[in-house]
Amino acid sequence: MTGPICVLAEQWRGRISEVTYEALALGREVADRVGVPLTAILTGCNCRELTRMLGAADSVIYVDHELLAEVVPQTCAEALVQIFAGARPRVLLVPLTNISLGIGTFVGVRMGVPVINFCKDIRITGDKLEAQCVMYGGKIEATVEAGAPSGPQPVVLGIWPGVRPADKGRAERDVPVMDMPVVLDDTQAVRLCRYIEPEAGDVDLTKQEVLVAVGRGIQDRGNLPLAEELVKVLGGALCGSRPVIDQGWLPLSRQVGKSGLMVKPKLYVALGISGAPEHVEGMKDAGLIVAVNSDARAPIFNVAHYGIVGDVLETLPALTAAIDARKAAAPHA
């Protein structure tokens, strides 16, 4: 009998992460195609009420333990291994995010099952599982098969955020919950001591309607004023991808992406940003995405609605000038 499609729900600081809904959306598709149930797994401590948010699943396995209050990958993996000892899943979807990274690999090696990362689509036919994966920073798509011995083997699939629209996996309802106890080693070799909050920024990026984002293509801290000019005519705020923050050109509070902020402005202008998954994760849900990059093949053009291939340092001032001119021509339009 084929086991269920399982999704590891990610929760942090009392909220279910958006990526969980995305994973549930994908899981739902696969479960329906194969004709097996979709099960969400939530681990944590005193957070049973969050199971309501996982209504897209047919049922939820809830694992409550003091040591699961904060995610420690080895501990979380140990809990999952114990849950699956009784009933093996067909597939376990684990998000490749800062919070959950590593869990999938530990489950794979401890259960002795294959792991496939960067997955965006899954096809199961009988014993065969094929995954569509995006590798090498988004440049190559690969069709990957998990080795199939006798009988369907559980497979752990690591998925990037953005694999499906979150709304397709969002459903709040009283879903059947099964509480499962686990026994965890309390030697606590890895322990969270405290969180370090980012310095209070002058601007809350998540509240802006317009964001102008700069990446490596801005080339030089000295070119930031060009971007600031655009912000002046468009409104909104300036933000950046990781490389710009790492170099100290903008403070941490301005970082958009995996380790920064998730933003959903009405307009996101990506200047000289290649569009690596780590950044796209932070802005893919923006209303209108416009990208400027000198590389026609930059992955950002796959997520943007409009694109211009060109040198940022030429295009940026041209855009500022064009908007300025239009505003001057029809100031009360």
């Binding site: 080339q219 030089d220 801290r221 000295g222 004023p225 030429e314």
Partner: protein, 393 residues
């Protein structure tokens, strides 16, 4: 040139080294240096520290990052000490070894040059992509091994940068109209090694020279003609030690030699007032002052006007010595960018066009135009671009 054999220890054993020790501490070098007012150790002070046995302080300061290898100090030194050619490279090499951290942009440029053969980190397999847009046939040696009279060494900015590609297209068209027999290395070409930048990195320079010499030896040509003055100087001053014995020209003086055949082709009138910026490498280093002016004067309609500082006194655009990749660093220190200083001088002439003959300058001056808000007042064009424009119907 004994740049490699002279070290600080062996200074007094070589004529070039002993020359340094004849400094009379007059301070003309510091006075002429465009960043003399912000440098902790301009050449005069450097030599004083050497004599006082306190050279360590020079290398542990970041003063030398402000040297843009413009040759102004060397051109004015009353003793004729080869400051930019001998002293400064030695000091820079030591500074690199002592600097706790190299400014990120410069570091990336050096790493990219080593790995991809260009400081921008562009793929080596796209270096000749611009050729398809040239509009005239351009022969690539790897595809067609017949001998050519000239090997046109295009260089990095002129291959990858959009405005640099404008220059390359213009050059190709002018060559074509003149019937020059040329071919390029295409994707096999790697940076020649820019002396100023690579005084920081002699090991990298050697790696590039070894590579380029090996590629040159595969093909047959009489001369190297290059669009980049820094490449020109590398080939002139450093490559002969590895056996470089071909003719050498920079595009601008090369075209000036063909002026009698070029002039009848310049049929279109360009009614511009043009001021010419002498690049450090072509100007002070090689004294190619008149060739570019002759070319410009040959264009019908062009009126030449000089900036206050011209020829040997020209003010550097700030791109040499690694300066192209140190703007962030200079900005953080509050230094005025030399390209902005020079552009103000150009605008003061009320010229329509600032003419240049070095690929760095187009990039740097157009940048300065945006920052200063002068874009409606003056445009930047390479001399070759103007020639090509004057050839159009």
């Amino acid at each position: 040139m004994g740049t490699c054999s002279v070290t600080l220890e062996t200074l007094s054993q070589y004529p070039e080294g002993r020359e340094i020790l004849t400094c009379i501490q007059c301070g003309v070098c510091a006075g002429t240096c465009p960043y003399g007012d912000v440098m902790d150790y301009p050449p005069r002070r450097m030599i004083a520290m050497m004599r006082a046995g306190m050279l360590e302080k020079v290398f542990t300061s970041d003063s030398l990052l402000a040297c843009v290898a413009c040759y102004a100090c060397m051109a004015k030194c009353p003793r004729g000490i080869r400051l930019t050619e001998i002293l400064l490279p030695l000091m820079k090499e030591q500074t690199l070894a002592h600097l706790p951290e190299l400014p990120g942009e410069l570091q990336k440029a050096l790493q990219n040059t080593l790995r991809y053969g260009n400081p921008m980190g562009e793929p080596s397999r796209k270096r000749a992509a611009w050729v398809k847009t040239a509009g005239v046939p351009i022969r690539i040696f790897a595809e067609d091994r017949r001998p050519a009279d000239a090997l046109w060494f295009v260089e990095c900015y002129t291959s990858y940068y959009p405005r640099g590609q404008d220059n390359s297209r213009a050059t190709a068209r002018v060559f074509h109209r003149l019937g020059i027999d040329f071919a390029i290395l295409g994707n096999e070409e790697k940076c020649a090694g820019e002396c100023g930048r690579l005084t920081w990195e002699p090991g990298l320079f050697e790696t590039l020279m070894d590579y380029n010499m090996a590629v040159f030896q595969k093909y047959q040509f009489n001369r190297v003609v290059t669009s980049c003055p820094h490449a020109h100087n590398a080939f002139k001053n450093r490559y002969p030690a590895l056996g470089f014995n071909w003719g050498l020209e920079h595009v601008t003086p090369f075209l000036a030699k063909h002026l009698d055949r070029l002039k009848p082709l310049l049929t279109r009138k360009l009614p511009y007032t043009v001021t010419y910026h002498d690049s450090c490498c072509l100007g002070r280093q090689n004294e190619f002052y008149e060739a570019p002016r002759q070319l410009l004067a040959a264009i019908p309609g062009v009126k030449l006007i000089e900036m206050v500082h011209n020829r040997v006194n020209a003010i550097c655009c700030g791109g040499g010595g690694g300066g192209m990749w140190l703007d962030t660093y200079f900005k953080a220190k509050g230094y005025e960018r030399l390209s902005e200083r020079r552009l103000k001088e150009a605008a003061a002439t009320k010229a329509d066009v600032l003419a240049v003959s070095c690929p760095y300058e187009v990039s740097r001056f157009e940048d300065a135009l945006k920052v200063l808000g002068f874009d409606k007042r003056i445009v930047v064009r390479d001399v070759t671009e103007l020639l090509a424009e004057a050839m159009e119907e």
